[in-house]
C-alpha cells in the first residue's frame, strides 16, 4: 500500500509533536523513522495508525485520505516497544484476538494463528500465559498478532529496543526477511541508526518534529543535505570544524589556525562558489589515519595532533585528539597501540569531505 503524508502536523496546545511532515512511501517499502528521543517519531506513527488526530495536513493510503478513518478500519498492524500484549490471555488468545473481533470462523482462526505462530517460531507456545514468556518470545507474539490479520501496512515503534544486543541482531534480520517476503509496506521507528541503515529502503531523519531528510541509506551517509543529518547518521559521529576555503595557485585549501589541508578540487570548488565566508567542514572519524607504513604522510593532507583519550571499541580504538585546540575523533586499528599523551601525525582522506553553511546548516554540496 502506498502511503503519503502531506504537511502532517500534531501539536498539543503549544507543544509541537510533529511539524509539517511530508513524505511518500512506495508500496512494499520499509521506511525507517530515525531521530533522537522526543523528535516526534511516535507521534507521526500514531497519526498514521489513527490513534492521534492530526492537527493539520493529510494522510493518504493508496490515494485515499484516511484522516477520519478509525484505526480498526485502516488495515494496519502495529508492534510496540512495550509489546502491549494482553496479559490475561494466552499466546493463542493474543494472536487470535484481531480475528475473533472480525468474527472469522473458529476453524479458520485456528489455522491462521497456527500458521503465523509457526512462521514466528512460537508454534509450540500457544497455550502459555504471556507472563511465562521471555522478552524475545513476547515480541514474536506481538509481531504475530500484527501479522495475523494480513495488514496492508505494518507499523513498528522501536520493537527491538527492549531486547539484548544479540537477539536484536537476529530479530532485525527476521523482521526484514518477513517484511520483504510478504511485501508489506512498513514504517519502522527507531533511534538506532544501524537498525535503520540495515533494514530500511528509505530513512526519514527527524529532529524537533521536523523532517530533516528523506533518502536512501547510502545517500544519507555519503551525501547528507544538512549538518544535523551529517552529525546524526554515522557512528562515531562526523568531526566538524570551522575553516575558510582559500584558492591558492590552482589549489583549494582549508585553513584555520594550525589546520591547513589541500582539498579535492571538485568538492572544494562547488563549496567555495556557494560559501559566504567561513564554512563548516566535516570529516568522518574513519577517514583519518595515523601516519605509519601503511598510511604514509601525504603532502598537504597531514597534520600533527595530541592524543587526549583512547576508547577501546573492540577491533578498533576511538581516539580523542586535539589539533591546535580543535578536537576530533579518529577511528584507528587496535594494533597501532595508541596511548594517551602521544604526539602523532594524522593523514586525512578528504575524498568524502563535507561542507555546510554555518548559518543555514545546509550542505554546500548537496542541498
Amino acid at each position: 500500500m502506498r502511503v503519503e503524508l502531506d504537511n502532517l502536523s500534531k501539536s498539543w496546545d503549544g507543544v509541537v509533536g510533529a511539524d509539517r511532515i511530508t513524505l511518500d512511501i512506495q508500496d512494499g517499502d520499509l521506511v525507517a523513522f530515525l531521530g533522537p528521543s522526543g523528535c516526534g517519531k511516535t507521534t507521526t506513527l500514531l497519526m498514521v495508525a489513527g490513534i492521534y488526530k492530526p492537527t493539520g495536513g493529510t494522510i493518504k493510503f493508496d490515494g485515499q485520505v484516511v484522516n477520519e478513518v478509525a484505526p480498526k478500519d485502516r488495515g494496519i498492524g502495529m508492534v510496540f516497544q512495550s509489546y502491549a500484549l494482553y496479559p490475561h490471555m494466552t499466546v493463542y488468545g493474543n494472536i487470535s484476538y484481531p480475528l475473533r473481533i472480525q468474527k472469522v470462523s473458529k476453524s479458520e482462526i485456528r489455522e491462521r494463528v497456527q500458521k503465523v505462530a509457526d512462521m514466528m517460531g512460537i508454534g509450540d507456545l500457544l497455550d502459555r500465559k504471556i507472563a511465562q514468556l521471555s522478552g524475545g518470545q513476547q515480541q514474536r507474539v506481538s509481531l504475530g498478532r500484527a501479522l495475523v490479520k494480513e495488514p496492508q501496512l505494518l507499523l513498528f515503534d522501536e520493537p527491538l529496543s527492549n531486547l539484548d544486543a544479540r537477539l536484536r541482531l537476529t530479530m532485525r534480520g527476521e523482521i526484514k526477511r518477513l517484511q520483504e517476503g510478504m511485501g508489506i509496506t512498513s514504517i519502522y521507528v527507531t533511534h538506532d541508526q544501524v537498525e535503520a541503515m540495515t533494514m530500511a529502503d528509505k530513512i526519514a531523519v527527524m529532529s524537533d518534529g521536523v523532517l530533516q531528510a528523506y533518502d536512501v541509506p547510502e545517500d544519507l551517509y555519503d551525501h547528507p543535505k544538512t549538518l544535523f543529518v551529517a552529525g546524526f547518521v554515522g557512528n562515531p559521529p562526523m568531526n566538524f570544524f570551522d575553516v575558510e576555503i582559500m584558492a591558492t595557485n590552482g589549489d583549494f585549501r582549508a585553513k584555520s589556525g594550525a589546520i591547513d589541508l589541500v582539498l579535492p578540487y571538485d568538492r572544494a570548488k562547488k563549496a567555495a562558489e556557494r560559501a559566504k565566508g567561513k564554512v563548516v567542514m566535516g570529516v568522518r572519524p574513519e577517514d583519518i589515519y595515523l601516519v605509519d607504513d601503511s598510511a604514509p604522510p601525504a603532502p598537504g593532507r597531514t597534520l600533527s595532533a595530541d592524543i587526549e583519550a583512547v576508547e577501546p571499541l573492540g577491533r578498533e580504538d576511538l581516539l580523542g585528539v586535539t589539533i591546535d585546540h580543535v578536537q576530533m575523533r579518529v577511528l584507528v586499528d587496535k594494533t597501532k597501540g595508541a596511548r594517551v599523551g602521544d604526539a602523532v601525525d594524522l593523514v586525512f582522506d578528504l575524498s568524502k569531505v563535507q561542507f555546510f553553511d554555518p548559518e543555514t546548516e545546509q550542505s554546500l554540496l548537496w542541498a
Binding site: P71, K72, M78, F80, Y86, I101
Partner: protein, 286 residues
C-alpha cells in the same frame, strides 16, 4: 532480601502480641453468646459458680425478624456492590482516559463531596427520597422507607471513593495495550470490557469488598431513612433489640452481633486468597 531467624522471631512475637487484645475481644464474644452471664472471660451460672452454658441466646434464629433484617442487609450490600461497581469502573475509565470539558471540575468536585460527612446531608437526602418516593410505580422501591432508597443513598455516598480508586487503577495501565486493541479492531466499549477491565480485577475485588462491608454494616443511613422492622437491616435491628428490651440482655445482643458477622467471616474465608493477591496482582500487570 533474606530475613534473619532472630528478626523473623521478633516480628512474629510482635504480630502475636498486637492481635492479643482483638483475640480476647472475640473470645469473649463467642463465650458470651453461649452463656447466661459472664465475668471476665468466664461463663457464670445462677449460683455464681463457673458454668451455665446455654444455647438460649441463639433462639432468635428461629424467628422471622432476624432473617428479614439479614435479607435487607444483603440486598443493600449487593445493590451497592453492583451499583458502585458499574459506576466506578466506567466512570473511572472515562476520567482516566478521556479529555472532556468539566473533567477537572468533576474530579475535584467528587473529592470535595467525599469530604462532607453523611450526617450533614441527611436532611437534604430526606427530601430527595421523598421526591423519589412520589414517582409512580417505582417510587415505592426507591423512596423514603425502602431498602432501595437506602441502597441508592449508600451508593451515592460511596461513589467518590470508588471512582477515584478505579481511576487510579486505570491510570496505571499502559496506553499501548489500549492502542493495540483499537488497532486490532476493537471499539471503545470492547476495549474497556475485554482489555482494560481484566487488568484492574484486583481493584474491582478490593472495591467490591469495601463496598460490601460498608453496605453490610451500614447503620446511619438505614436508621435515618427507614421506620419499623420490615425494612430494618441488621445493625438497625440490633439497635432496636438494645432499646426495646429492659434490662438489656447483653448476651442476646452479643449473639445477634455474632450472627451479623457470620456472613462476613464466610466471605473472608473464601476471598482470603484473592485479597492477599491484590497487591501482588496489581504490580504484576505491567
Amino acid at each position: 532480601m533474606a530475613t534473619g531467624k532472630v528478626g523473623r522471631r521478633f516480628s512474629y512475637a510482635f504480630l502475636i502480641l498486637s492481635i492479643v487484645p482483638i483475640l480476647i475481644g472475640y473470645t469473649w464474644l463467642v463465650i458470651a453468646t453461649l452463656s447466661t452471664r459472664t465475668q471476665g472471660l468466664l461463663p457464670i451460672n445462677a449460683e455464681g459458680g463457673i458454668g451455665g452454658l446455654t444455647l438460649s441466646n441463639w433462639k432468635f434464629v428461629f424467628e422471622g425478624d432476624i432473617w428479614n433484617a439479614m435479607l435487607n442487609s444483603l440486598l443493600i450490600a449487593v445493590a451497592m456492590v453492583i451499583g458502585v461497581g458499574i459506576a466506578s469502573t466506567s466512570g473511572g475509565y472515562a476520567l482516566s482516559r478521556f479529555k472532556f470539558p468539566g473533567r477537572k471540575a468533576f474530579l475535584t468536585g467528587t473529592l470535595v463531596l467525599h469530604a462532607f460527612k453523611a450526617e450533614m446531608l441527611l436532611i437534604a437526602i430526606f427530601f430527595v427520597l421523598r421526591w423519589l418516593g412520589a414517582i409512580p410505580v417505582i417510587g415505592d422501591y426507591i423512596g423514603f422507607n425502602s431498602v432501595g432508597g437506602v441502597a441508592l443513598v449508600m451508593v451515592a455516598l460511596e461513589l467518590p471513593l470508588g471512582i477515584w480508586l478505579m481511576k487510579g487503577f486505570f491510570d496505571n495501565l499502559s496506553w499501548d495495550m489500549e492502542r493495540a486493541a483499537l488497532i486490532d479492531g476493537a471499539g471503545r466499549f470492547r476495549v474497556w470490557w475485554q482489555i482494560m477491565l481484566p487488568q484492574v480485577r484486583p481493584g474491582i475485588a478490593a472495591l467490591a469488598l469495601f463496598t460490601f462491608i460498608a453496605g453490610w454494616n451500614a447503620y446511619l443511613v438505614p436508621f435515618t431513612f427507614t421506620i419499623g422492622a420490615k425494612v430494618a437491616n441488621m445493625p438497625v435491628f440490633l439497635n432496636q433489640l438494645i432499646s426495646d428490651t429492659a434490662p438489656v440482655n447483653w448476651n442476646l445482643v452479643a449473639a445477634v452481633g455474632m450472627f451479623q458477622m457470620i456472613p462476613l467471616i464466610i466471605f473472608f474465608i473464601f476471598t482470603q486468597e484473592l485479597l492477599l493477591n491484590i497487591y501482588a496482582g496489581g504490580s504484576k500487570g505491567t
